[in-house]
């Protein structure tokens, strides 16, 4: 009985066919970012590229899903699929009507976001918050999906702003959540190198790419970010860069190799100080911790 080979076991690897894949694109539309302050028309180019990319994603499989978010300095919003049903969009040319709808809705809602927020502009885009929203959205879809369905999710961040250490904690929280939920975070940097977001890509097995020239944005998006993670391993893609995981000290924000960590709140300091500035704990003298670990050493 045991040596019977059941004939069709080899045919079971078609699993990728019945999976739905969702991409949440987070577009940094903050007019305060350096790239846009220099030449505002770049945004139009980026939006066009992103819409074409999004439609290419929808083109891959009939059941693929898409969401687009705009991240601004003051707020982040879902601009596609937005609220309500959109049956009023009709074809005007040979474009597939779903794609037409994506384009129209995205542009309409993005314009709303841009006009609503024109007052004071800060340089910083709150990308961590936008990713947090995207994760909540993904977790709702995961919760409400019909039994038996599999939903693969990833988040693509397209941004030209820099990432600052002030969002460090939020970034780390979203990265670890994404890792836990099996959400891949991809980052496409348009202007500056983003070391924090690069760490996020590394943690979640995503891809990080700093686009060399903006002109070819669509090509970069299609070549690097369009393939789903299972297909990526079958393609030759840019190898992951080595990620710098050194810590920045809380006192001077400098990258350090050896530092002191508060045993109560885990704040990092570059030199010994008698009191922790974060949790106000008073510390013992420094001589002890240097000696004790040697005793502890067990080989």
């Amino acid at each position: 009985m045991n040596n019977i080979v059941l004939p069709d076991e080899t045919q079971t690897d078609s699993s990728s066919d019945d999976e739905t894949s969702l991409v949440v694109v987070i577009l940094d539309s903050n007019p305060g970012q350096k790239m846009l302050r220099d030449s505002p028309h770049v945004l139009t180019h980026c939006v066009d590229s992103i819409i074409a990319f999004a439609n290419s994603h929808l083109m891959q499989k009939a059941q693929n899903k898409l969401a687009i978010m705009a991240c601004h300095s003051k707020t982040s919003q879902f601009i596609y699929p937005g609220q309500g049903k959109h049956t009023d969009v009709r074809q005007v040319d040979g474009q597939y009507e779903v794609f037409t709808a994506v384009e129209k809705i995205t542009k309409k809602n993005l314009a709303k976001v841009l006009t609503a927020d024109s007052s004071t502009v800060t340089k910083e885009s709150l990308l961590a918050g936008a990713i947090a929203m995207a994760l909540c959205y993904i977790s709702r879809l995961q919760r409400t999906k019909p039994p038996g369905a599999t939903l693969n999710c990833r988040i693509l961040v397209v941004t030209g702003s820099s990432c600052s250490a002030s969002q460090y904690m939020n970034y780390m929280n979203v990265f670890f959540t994404a890792q836990k939920q099996n959400v891949v975070i991809d980052v496409c940097a348009l202007d500056q190198h983003l070391s924090l977001l690069q760490q996020g890509c590394d943690i979640t097995n995503g891809l990080y790419l700093k686009v060399p020239q903006l002109q070819g944005l669509l090509q970069y998006l299609l070549w690097v970010f369009l393939p789903e993670p299972p297909i990526r391993e079958k393609l030759v893609l840019p190898p992951p860069l080595k990620v710098d995981y050194r810590a920045a000290c809380f006192c001077h924000r400098q990258l350090i190799e050896i530092g002191y960590v508060c045993s109560v709140c885990l704040s990092i300091f570059c030199r010994f100080s008698p009191i922790c500035t974060t949790c106000h704990t008073v510390f013992k003298m420094p001589a002890l911790p240097a000696v004790k670990p040697k005793k502890k050493k067990k080989i």
């Binding site: 004939p7 078609s14 891959q60 499989k61 074809q91 040979g94 597939y96 879809l141 039994p147």
Partner: protein, 474 residues
């Protein structure tokens, strides 16, 4: 002697290998068309879109990488896109693209060979993706429908229509509403045949297999058969296919205009209406609603992928490890389907309880249904509770394995063509030939007492030569 209990027969196993239902996907269908037809088809953005979605994963990536490139790309460069470990898949993708003439070889200055996308295909795929070109034939502007139909209505409507066809096939009583035309397609497809004695229509083996397919695959198979006959009806194949794909890319719950459609297409539309692929209030209403049956008809291979946001027809079958089946249904059709391979025990207004037994499964197998089809059917209609269970598989593995084993039970005999050597004059002659054939691995069966050998047919000439040489030598 390892295989001395294997029986032999000179005829091929055709007697047992009855034709099974052949389910072609879009790729198989297109492969069998001529390149002129393909070229004509590629003129339509919808068809390009449908074809693109049916390509293997890697091929999709190659196409999207090439779609914005004007010059041919050296083949060596394309080959370097895929990683070495998956070169098999890369080759498969390349073959598919070449077979469908989606890309063609082109010489590059410098003597290298390159790939270039078919210009027609490239142009029209871009149109579908980015816009431009003519609007599709059914998207003329419409005023809002005063009596707009919602999704739920369309679902019940299409289900009713389609089940009409299925009911007719299983020969249940409700036979109104199926036209002679539909019957002709069923006959043409070999799903039903005329009984030899009284000429009444009976369901065939393929028909049973058809019933066990999921709805999407049924529609697709049915339409392919329909398309085969489309030219006899004086309709244009390309036109119909284009329209069909437009339909499959439409939005559920939205109305479309019939304005500007050719008379041929209007006839086609009426046929689709009959099977429930579209809903029209009146023949001349000027607008129609596509139903779920018409959507994404092409992706027949991913069975019943539940849409993430919309609710899907619910599964109703619970299978227990003790081979009991509970089917929560009041539809006669569904009960009849379950009864194909189970022994029904109890019947309640909304529930049928059955038992999968060796006898019941063997009966189904004798009827031409395969074990995979039974398992596929159970899987695809599994009750949501079964899917929620912690185990990955929706069905108890014991039941799945047992059904497969029951099928294997029937395939214990293997057939191989052979030539019988007998009436050897001496035991020595027999032994020589036996040793020779054995060492060449062509001996199928031998019997020492009766001095008979059966040898693989392909080796017959060789053995004959050897025998002649041997006889001469003596």
């Amino acid at each position: 002697m390892a295989d001395n209990d294997g029986s032999t027969s000179s005829q091929k196993s055709s007697r047992f290998k009855q034709t099974n239902l052949e389910c072609k996907n879009l790729y198989d269908y297109l492969k069998s068309r001529s390149s002129q037809v393909l070229e004509k088809l590629y003129n339509h953005p919808t068809i390009c879109l449908a074809i693109y979605r049916e390509l293997p994963d890697l091929a999709k990536q190659y196409v999207i990488r090439l779609v914005f490139v004007e010059q041919p790309v050296p083949q060596a460069v394309v080959a370097s896109w895929g990683s070495q470990v998956f070169s098999k898949e890369h080759n498969f993708a390349s073959t598919v693209l070449a077979e469908l003439t989606l890309w063609q070889e082109a010489a590059i200055p410098g003597g290298l060979l390159g790939w270039i996308l078919s210009p027609t295909f490239k142009r029209n795929l871009k149109v579908a993706l980015l816009g431009g070109g003519k609007a599709w034939s059914m998207s003329s502007a419409l005023e809002a429908d005063s009596k707009a139909r919602d999704v739920a209505f369309l679902d019940t409507y299409s289900q009713e229509r389609w089940e009409c066809v299925l009911h007719y096939m299983v020969g249940s009583q409700q036979q109104e509403g199926i036209s002679a035309d539909a019957v002709r397609i069923l006959l043409h497809a070999g799903l039903m045949k005329r009984d030899e004695e009284d000429g009444s229509l009976v369901i065939t083996r393929q028909g049973f297999q058809f019933l066990l397919l999921d709805r999407q695959a049924q529609v697709w198979h049915f339409l392919l058969q329909y398309l085969d006959t489309v030219e006899e009806r004086g309709l244009d194949l390309v036109e119909c296919l284009t329209f069909l794909f437009q339909l499959s890319f439409s939005t559920l719950g939205k109305d479309y205009s019939t304005e500007g459609m050719s008379p041929g297409l209007l006839i086609f539309l009426q046929h689709l209406r009959e099977f429930g692929l579209v809903y029209q209030r009146k023949r001349k209403a000027g607008r129609f609603y596509p139903t779920r049956l018409a959507l994404n008809i092409t992706n027949s291979h991913n069975k019943s992928t539940p849409d993430i946001e919309e609710d899907h027809p619910k599964g109703y079958i619970v299978v227990e490890t003790n081979y009991r089946i509970y089917a929560y249904t009041d539809s006669n059709l569904q009960v009849a389907l379950v009864a194909l391979f189970t022994e029904l025990m109890y019947r309640f207004p909304n529930l049928v309880v059955g038992l999968i037994t060796r006898e019941s499964v063997r009966q189904a197998l004798r009827g031409g249904i395969t074990a995979d089809q039974i398992i596929g059917f159970l899987k695809q209609h599994a009750h949501p509770q079964m899917l929620n269970a912690e185990a990955k598989q929706p069905l108890p593995p014991t039941v799945v394995d047992q059904i497969k084993l029951w099928e294997l039970e029937r395939n214990r005999l293997t057939y191989s063509e052979g030539v019988l050597y007998s009436q050897f004059l001496s035991q020595a002659d027999f032994n020589v030939l036996k040793e020779y054939t054995e060492s060449n691995g062509v001996l199928i069966w031998c019997n020492k007492e009766k001095r008979t050998l059966v040898i693989n047919k392909s080796a017959h000439d060789d053995v004959k030569k050897f025998w002649k040489r041997y006889s001469k030598g003596n």
